[in-house]
């Protein structure tokens, strides 16, 4: 495959031919911008978990793919992981994004590491372990990445179930109000919020009103 860049359909055909069994769903999405409406393409492929690494190998036959990031979403009963790649960089206007999506059921949140194929993936895999509570098997470096050392164990910020960030951890800064020892603001602050007595009939000017307070 060295006669010029492939079309998005050819890339999709190459991948589907290699992975006959493991594909759940595919789509090619086009988006056009600018005066000439030059399109760019995103290939979305939903895979079985076992087909993830074969799919990446098939992608590597085209070009060593660029892994942008592994994104994810908590769907309730499963965690959806999206491995966002791009191939054919270096060919003007012919780079395509290729997204491999897999679903990990909450009963078995494990996925094999892909860092043996793409060494740079470790960074993103570490982040997914930390933020979704999944387990990347075979990861060469399983330490945390972004969360502070004293962050409680078993809390995963991007989960939407009972392991997500609990209410008690959230600091509502707007509740802290204006410090009393500060000098008065140069412009007189607007009257009290909705529950106040002299609220104007028109809606209060944007923003500030909710946190106005004692004076």
């Amino acid at each position: 495959m060295n006669e010029g860049p492939l079309t998005p359909e050819e890339v999709m055909a190459h991948l589907t031919a290699r992975l006959s069994g493991g594909i759940r769903d595919t789509s090619i999405r086009k988006w056009e911008q600018g005066r000439k409406r030059v399109p760019h393409y995103t290939l979305w492929i939903d895979l079985e978990r076992d087909s993830l690494k074969p799919a990446i190998r098939a992608l590597m036959e085209i070009q060593f793919p660029h892994l942008s990031v592994i994104a994810g979403a908590d769907l309730g009963d499963a965690i959806r992981l999206l491995y966002i790649f791009s191939v054919q960089y270096g060919s003007p206007k012919s780079e395509y994004m290729v997204t491999f999506a897999i679903a990990l059921p909450k009963s078995d949140l494990t996925v094999p590491t892909i860092s043996d194929l793409i060494p740079g993936a470790v960074f993103s895999e570490r982040e997914k372990q930390e933020f979704f509570g999944i387990r990347v098997t075979g990861i060469p470096d399983g330490r945390g990445l972004f969360l502070p050392e004293d962050f409680p164990e078993g809390v995963f910020p991007w989960r939407k179930d009972e392991t997500g960030v609990p209410e008690g951890m959230v600091k509502a800064l707007w509740e802290s109000k204006r410090p009393r020892e500060r000098p008065a603001p140069p412009v007189k602050e607007k009257g009290p919020g909705p529950e106040g007595g002299d609220a104007p009939s028109a809606p209060a000017p944007a923003g500030r009103s909710a946190k106005e307070e004692e004076k």
Binding site: Q33, H40, V69, A71, K93, P119, F146
Partner: protein
């Protein structure tokens, strides 16, 4: 420095506040004498949970949150987030807005690269060059303020378009700024590239091979300086770039060879300043007339977003490389999932091959050379034979400046 053989290699932690730039990251160096044998780093000293916050807000609120992810890249995050949402909700951006987005995007690149050039000069102990680059950077900042109303946190991009038009009177202001930079570029190039000391400090220092650059998912000028032909403006057109025929700036196109070192990273960034000037000029002359947003009324815009379901990826070439936002909408006010991938996220891993084998005095310039959007050393503690001496940021900078003086003889 007696008795170092006893415990060599010894560990040098740097951070979590500083080696060269603004934001915090924790480095641990394994040193053998002056040479870095191995290195490890831990980012995340300033994790703010922006994605967590975004998943509890609506897209119009998130746009303003994205403006505040980074103080330098004010436009790239809001642009990539908007691109993602527009693709999910099927909002077609007017052509004029595509051009205005492109113009502000390129001014951001100019000011970011000049800021970096100043930091690089400072790390080498060449402070007069720092003052020059930061002074001329102000011109781009003034134009950005004129176009958007703000020096940072521009607030120019909105889902569906932009929030301010560029009127004919502003063309002259932009043109004057571009002319200044184009007149200055040769001077800057010769200050940086013909200077014997900068060459000695940067040539073959902090080398990143092409293979490592590709395998570690490196992006932007850091990848291009290692000879990887990547530039989303060329490969994956968005906004007005499909109309423009941008070509990636690669060191061998200018110097005839690629080393993948700090010097090449300087070359790429400086040449991109000139390239950005050309892009802005072309956009100004070809900018079509028409509306600047698909939907002026935010209530209607929010209603459209609320109905949207699906997944989208917005991806732009930030000054430091690819910036990507993944958004998943499920017909609710706020997105079901949102992942921000800033450009430095992809570049941090490249520090490890760059720093291995380098000297302690070269750490600041190598760390700075990928233009990290986090990092910084307040102090370095050198632990040796259980004696502990603290090196402050100033000491580390002094070491680097002294090396420059030594080389100058």
């Amino acid at each position: 420095m007696s008795g170092e053989s006893k415990k060599a290699p010894y560990r040098v932690p740097i951070g979590p506040n500083h080696p060269a730039l603004k934001e915090p990251v924790m480095f641990t160096f394994e040193m053998e004498g002056e040479v870095v044998r191995d290195v490890d780093f831990a980012p995340g000293q300033a994790h703010r949970g922006i994605e967590w916050m975004g998943m509890r807000r609506n897209p119009v609120q998130i746009v303003h949150l994205t403006d505040r992810i980074c103080g330098i890249c004010g436009v790239v995050h809001s642009l990539s987030f908007s691109l993602a949402v527009e693709q999910i909700a099927g909002i077609e951006v007017p052509e004029r807005a595509d051009y205005i987005r492109t113009i502000v995007h390129e001014f951001e690149r100019i000011q970011s690269h000049l800021l970096w050039a100043g930091v690089a000069a400072h790390e080498l102990g060449f402070d007069s060059l720092l003052y020059l680059t930061w002074r001329v950077r102000e011109e781009a900042m003034d134009v950005i303020e004129n176009l958007t109303g703000n020096r940072v946190n521009y607030g120019i991009v909105q889902v569906g378009g932009v929030r301010r038009d560029i009127v004919p009177e502003q063309h002259a202001i932009i043109e004057k700024c571009l002319a200044t930079y184009e007149g200055l570029l040769d001077t800057l190039l010769s200050f940086f590239l013909d200077d014997r000391t900068i060459r000695m400090r940067c040539r073959d220092v902090g080398v990143l091979s092409r293979k490592d650059a590709v395998e570690l998912c490196t992006v932007g000028p850091t990848a291009r300086a290692s000879g990887v032909n990547v530039d989303l403006r060329q490969d994956y057109p968005y906004a007005a770039y499909g109309d423009l025929d941008v070509k990636a700036v690669l060191p061998d196109r200018y110097l005839g060879e690629t080393h993948g070192d700090v010097y090449d990273r300087i070359v790429v960034r400086l040449l991109e300043v000139g390239q950005s000037c050309q892009i802005i000029r072309q956009c100004l002359s070809e900018m079509p007339a028409g509306p600047i947003t698909a939907e002026e009324k935010l209530v209607k815009l929010l209603a459209t977003c609320k109905k949207a379901t699906g997944e989208g990826i917005g991806r732009v070439e930030a000054p430091r490389g690819e910036c990507l936002h993944y958004v998943r909408m499920e017909g609710k006010d706020s997105p079901a999932s949102w992942k921000v991938k800033a450009s430095s996220y992809s570049n941090l891993m490249s520090w490890i091959p760059m720093l291995r084998g380098s000297q302690i005095a070269d750490i600041p310039i190598i760390v700075a050379s990928i233009d990290p959007c986090l990092s910084c050393t307040d102090r370095v503690a050198i632990v040796q034979d259980n004696r502990r001496s603290i090196l402050t940021k100033d000491d580390l900078h002094r070491l680097s400046a002294e090396k420059t003086r030594r080389l100058q003889g």
